[in-house]
Amino acid sequence: MTDLSMQHTLSFKTVKKHYFATPLNSAITVLLAVFTAWVLWGLFNWAFLDAIWGYGKNEECRTHEDGACWSFVATRWRIVLFGLYPFEEQWRSALACIVMLVVAILSCVPVFWSAKRLPTLWVIGFATFYILMRGGVLGLTPVVERDWGGLSLTVFIFAAVCLLGMPLSIIFALLRRSEMPWIARTMALVIDVIRSLPLLSIMFTFAIVLPFVLPDWAIGDKLYRVIIGYAIFFACYQAEIIRGGMQALPAGQEEAAKALGMGYWNRVGYVVLPQAFRNALPPTINQFVITFKETSLVTIIGFFDILASGRAAAGTADWSFATIEMYVFVGLIFFVFVFSLSRYGAYLEHRLNVGSR
């Protein structure tokens, strides 16, 4: 048994104790080490030493078997990132993504952590994103949603889901702990039902089934129906996270606010929610990470998100061999976003623990 509480410093003694305790243990260690080294060397060869770089080398790549064809990325990256978005207008798509990236980074700065600043930042950022993408004003040529694709579509869906889902989750959480039992119970039931459904089935329902049920004027664009469905799904999970944060508050907090004569919304807005969000920060960030990753499900219902545009980029005859390179490229984009977000979450958790007041 290893002592989990012991510090894992990599001294000679601990290495010996943990990895070379018995002959069998030593043999396994050596074998695994050799195997790992062999895999890593192979990967390194494939990705760097034997790889083909540079623009438009698909003929070379076709005959070249052992290395990666980064020429695919160099040549086709615009399709992966921007999908069907008109070629001359793709700078708008890129700029729009950068705007949202800046918004995301600014959201990590404590100065913006207030009930007014954070929503303002996101609404402004999102509006800028939409205007850049959609055009039709300020001399920008209109580009309809159907032609959006690639990274900017993924970012759009993610941002819209968060922007809609966050306030919705707060409302759900408040209804869930309403003093009127039947409201609280109905909300609990709705939350539990939606959480027990797979996201994909909700997306399908909103994309394909809902048009048969809704009156014509309420159908709207398929993209927005999917976003609304996803936002409701997000809100149900996030509502439970916020509720957890609220339950961690001592009852005395709300009582003190009541005793000071503060009304319901003031109590919620100034006393309960700020503390609940603080308590719920690590799982909230985790929820963002999951939500970003799962946007790729929209491919299945026919949206041209980054995964689909990647497939399209590697889908033509002259690049059909570059599927792996495509997935590595798309995967890397997801990885950079998700990894930095979860590192940030870990940092925050640490910071809140250290400075907990």
Partner: protein
């Protein structure tokens, strides 16, 4: 203006099937200081919390400053503005500085400007002798300091009545007197006070009347001299024997 700051008639309170308060009649005059004591579980907290509707009573009437405490939300809000409350566990808002704790309700509820509210807050923080802590967070203060802030925070709403629920019983012994001093000062200025406490020295010094509760009922009430020297009920005598330690 009615003479009575608080007027309670035939009030009953149940927690589910449990009869927590039984036929309570209680009048508190303007400027009167009332101390409530009694064994644990006797309903002292429940009684004081019914006065500002942190708990709902089921029968009888409660009037605060002549305003009836019923389901009318405006009345409840008004009563809560008239009656400040200090809790055993301070209940300061940990995510706000001391100054923000004191200005939050005045700006939101009394619609004071921030500058007004801050000036008032600083004057009360000076009165409870901790103006230098204004920009710290509650977690950085000692228990005694936190409780003094809690008193200042309640006073910032300019209440006519102050309710105290065992304000010193969560404090280390050496901090009790700093809080009691503030309360004595408040009493001397003529504040109407209802105070659940076992600090009998305080009761003797400032109370106009001491009330003894047991099993959800008021057993005995009398001015402190009479109450401590000639308690009429056997239960009061036993209780006093315990808290006074002889």
């Amino acid at each position: 203006m009615p003479d009575q700051a608080i007027s309670i008639r035939a009030m009953n309170k149940y927690y589910g099937g449990f009869h927590a308060l039984k036929d309570i009649d209680l009048d508190v005059d303007r400027g009167e200081k009332v101390v409530i004591c009694g064994p644990s579980g006797s309903g002292k907290s429940t009684l004081i919390r019914c006065i500002n509707r942190l708990e709902e009573h089921q029968a009888g009437t409660i009037k605060v400053n002549g305003i009836p405490l019923d389901d009318n939300v405006d009345n409840i809000d008004e009563i809560r503005r008239e009656a400040g409350m200090v809790f055993q566990n301070f209940n300061l808002f940990p995510h706000m500085t001391i100054l923000e704790n004191c200005t939050l309700a005045p700006t939101l509820v009394r619609k004071q400007t921030r500058q007004q509210a801050e000036e008032t807050a600083m004057s009360y923080l000076e009165r409870v002798k901790i103006p230098e802590q204004a920009h710290k967070y509650p977690g950085e203060l000692s228990g005694g300091q936190q409780q003094r802030v809690a008193i200042a925070r309640a006073l910032c709403m300019a209440p006519e009545i102050m309710l105290f629920d065992e304000p010193t019983s969560a404090l280390d012994p050496e901090m009790i007197s700093e809080v009691l001093d503030v309360m004595v000062g408040l009493a001397e200025e003529g504040m109407t006070m209802v105070c659940v406490t076992h600090e009998m020295g305080f009761a003797r010094q400032v109370a106009d009347r001491v009330i003894f509760m047991a099993d959800g009922q008021i057993i005995e009430q009398a001015p402190p001299g009479e109450f401590f020297d000639n308690p009429t009920s056997e239960r009061t005598r036993t209780f006093l024997g315990q808290v006074l330690g002889h």
